[in-house]
């Protein structure tokens, strides 16, 4: 019998399994994927470029729009970078509010992901259930911030809104509902025979590879890496809490690094977030929620600031970095966002290789890709209607030149 020829199945940039555009090219023999390649960067919004002509307080609003789900992630990381440069001390109460809202974001993000993963497996009932359950977290977020997406609660030097005593009761009721539901959610996702058989042993990412590819967040923890920014470098209120990174051992006895383990980590992180919020609510210190009420004073402090800093936050998807450099002017001279998805997307070719075509959607979804977080500026000459494509060497050279300019 003649050897079967490889067959190329393109996925994306527009595809029903993808909620955002990315191009994945799969070479398949029969049902087995023998190699995979991906091209991110199908959309360009130029958010970093926009930020460089705005002042830090305006950029905080902009950072909220980087991603539709990580409302707090980017603004918190950016605010922390600016606070370090301008030497602004965040009040303790604001740190607690920041932690609470960040953990609520983790709950809703993981539930959203759980729904998407179930949909990719063809299990729409579970998808509807997960998204219906997620609504409660969204309602709680709306109660605290006034918004369901783009929360806009973070301000440089604290938070814009306090969590009042009256709100505690409603938030605790929401958390108690989640506690009751948690067992059901665990049973549906982790004990369902079809989900187990589809996810166990697929999309394997070993500990060594997870480390070598610098994966972050639940993707890394599912492979046994204990990296968790909240534990390793505590910030906000995390230092006051007793936290341990969630590993797949929370449910099973061993770490396999497969799709199933990534589900386990995310489901158990929901439970962990519920505990964190409860602890924060119980121990919230009194005091102001902003370093300075008047925006003009915050801006004046920023204008005096000089230097560079990296703001970090453990987002639902993993560590998110914001590099900011300021030189006593209105706007930062450099702002670079490295969203957690950046670190995680690169394992796709690795974990897709050898998988069955049917498992591609759930494996792709298992790293919880957020492609809008990875958007960058494209250099297009409108007059000549030409788009410049940089090679790796050119980009490295430009990066060196820019660093040199900034240090002068």
């Amino acid at each position: 019998m003649a050897k079967k020829a490889p067959y190329i199945v393109p996925v994306g940039p527009i595809h029903p399994a993808l909620k955002e555009p990315v191009h994945i090219e799969l070479t398949v023999v029969g049902e087995e994927v023998i190699s995979a390649d991906f091209t991110p960067g199908q959309t360009h919004r130029g958010i970093e470029w926009m930020g460089l002509s705005r002042n830090p307080v305006q950029i905080v609003h902009l950072t909220d729009r980087i991603c539709g789900i990580c409302g707090v992630t980017h603004s918190l990381a950016f605010a922390r970078a600016v606070e370090q440069i301008a030497d602004i001390t965040v009040p303790e109460r604001a740190d607690y509010v920041r932690t609470i809202i960040a953990e609520f974001e983790r709950i809703q993000s993981h539930l959203l992901w759980a729904g998407v993963a179930a949909h990719e497996l063809g299990f729409d009932t579970l998808f509807y259930l997960a998204w219906r359950v997620r609504e409660e977290a969204m309602d709680a977020i709306e109660l605290i911030t006034g918004n369901r997406v783009n929360y806009d609660i973070i301000q440089i030097g604290g938070v814009r809104r306090d969590i009042t005593e009256d709100q505690h009761e409603q938030i605790l009721r929401c958390l108690n509902n989640y506690k009751d539901l948690f067992g059901k959610l665990k049973t549906l996702f982790l004990e369902d025979a079809v989900i187990s058989s589809r996810c166990k042993g697929t999309g394997l990412l070993s500990f060594e590879k997870a480390m070598a590819y610098s994966t972050v967040g639940p993707t890394a923890r599912a492979s046994g890496c204990t990296a968790d920014l909240r534990v390793d470098y505590p910030y906000a209120a995390y230092g006051d809490l007793d936290l341990k990174p969630v590993l797949p051992t929370a449910y099973g006895s061993e770490v396999n690094g497969d799709t199933y383990d990534r589900i386990v980590v995310r489901i158990f992180e929901i439970a962990q977030s519920i505990e964190i919020i409860e602890q924060c609510l119980a121990n919230m210190p009194a005091g102001p929620t902003l370093w300075e009420e008047k925006v003009a004073k915050i801006l004046a402090a920023c204008k005096k600031a000089e230097g560079e800093a990296v703001g970090r936050h453990e987002a639902p998807r993993g560590e998110c970095l914001h590099y900011v450099a300021m030189d006593k002017s209105d706007s930062p001279i450099a702002w670079k966002v490295k969203a957690s998805s950046y670190s995680n997307l690169h394992v796709w070719p690795l974990i897709l290789k050898g998988a069955q075509l049917a498992d591609i959607p759930v494996i792709v979804a298992s790293v919880d890709p957020c492609l809008s977080c990875t958007d960058r500026v494209a250099v297009t000459d409108a007059d000549a209607s030409r788009t410049k494509i940089f090679t790796k060497e050119e980009l490295t050279r430009l990066s060196y030149e820019k660093t040199r300019r900034m240090r002068q």
Binding site: A17, G30, G122, D124
Partner: protein
């Protein structure tokens, strides 16, 4: 001449009834799934609106496609789905072409709509459709084994019981297998009931066996390039096939009529039996398609093969052995 005209007239009436009922059944299915998922769901008659819309839309033929084959397959699928119905008795109504074919013919006819989908998929020249068509072929091969085992077990037992012409659809409808078997045979028939309940969603490409059309990985698989009128015809053939498959299962395993219990005869008996039959079709479709597709995730194609060949094929073999043991114990062989 009159016989031919009657057959043509009967076919047209049957086709219209089957399409209307098939679409209503699909509406009921969507409605119940929505309720089970705590949604409201579309109106009951939404499938009619969908099909009307599809027929009004542009019919696009891809550049890579083989146009005549691509256009012919939806018609073949619908025609063969309606053809199945002409060999099936409904309630106490005898099939239109009952004397010209038997249960084996129906088994073959059931393959043709799927085969039309496969050929249409390959003819469309899309990589998704090609992968989908490969999967459809594999699942066709897979579910044929338990289906054939079920038919053979029942027909063989009826033959052993001395029923004349056990492969005829009319015989199967009139002589219930449950009446002729002993205790072991009842166990075998229960096994066959389970098997048929699992074959039905496979035959109809519904979750968990919808890998040929997997929306999330293949963007619609076989049907990805179909649009407008062609997609409308495939939708109709799917609706008719749902009726045919449920009716086929009922004739094999749930062939009771209501009129003998009520002591009715004539037209009244026919109407009551037909209504009862329709209710049974709805019941079977809801149990084996709607409920299953709500509570399960999609299988991989290898799992589909494993389930049909190893699990259900094994069950089929057990059922046949039980039937033989039953006949032996009752002393009929």
């Amino acid at each position: 001449m009159n016989v031919i005209l009657a057959a043509i007239g009967g076919t047209i009436v049957l086709a219209i009834l089957a399409i209307v009922f098939g679409l209503i059944l699909s509406g009921i299915d969507r409605r119940i799934v929505a309720r089970m998922q705590a949604r409201i769901g579309p109106p009951l008659l939404q499938p009619f609106t969908d099909v009307r819309k599809l027929f009004a839309k542009q019919n696009i033929i891809p550049a890579n496609a083989i146009p005549w084959l691509f256009n012919a397959m939806p018609i073949v699928a619908l025609a063969s789905a309606i053809a199945i119905l002409m060999y099936l008795p409904f309630g106490s109504f005898a099939p239109i072409l009952g004397e010209l074919g038997d249960v084996i013919l129906v088994l073959y006819l059931l393959i043709i709509p799927s085969l039309a989908l496969v050929i249409g998929g390959f003819a469309s020249g899309s990589p998704y459709a090609t992968v989908g068509a490969q999967r459809e072929m594999v699942s066709m091969i897979a579910y044929e084994l338990p289906l054939a085992a079920a038919v053979i077990a029942i027909a063989w037992r009826l033959m052993a019981a001395g029923v004349a012409d056990p492969f005829s659809m009319l015989t199967l409808m009139q002589t219930s297998a449950w009446d002729v078997v002993g205790p072991l045979g009842i166990v075998a028939l229960l096994l066959l009931l389970v098997m048929l309940a699992w074959v039905t969603p496979g035959e109809l490409s519904k979750i968990p066996f919808d890998s040929p059309e997997a929306e999330t990985e293949l963007a619609g698989g076989i049907l990805v390039e179909y649009s407008g009128r062609n997609l409308g015809l495939f939708t109709l053939s799917q609706a008719v096939k749902t009726v045919a498959m449920a009716a086929f299962g009922i004739i094999l395993l749930l062939p009771w009529n209501l009129s003998p219990f009520l002591g009715l005869t004539g037209v009244a008996a026919g109407v009551v039996d037909l209504i009862f039959f329709v209710l049974k079709v709805i019941f079977v479709a809801v149990v084996s398609v709607t409920v299953v597709r709500t509570m399960m995730a999609r299988f991989r194609i290898t799992q589909v093969m494993g389930l049909y060949w190893l699990v259900l094929g094994g069950l089929g073999a057990v059922a046949i052995i039980l039937m033989m043991a039953d006949a032996y114990l009752l002393g009929v062989i």
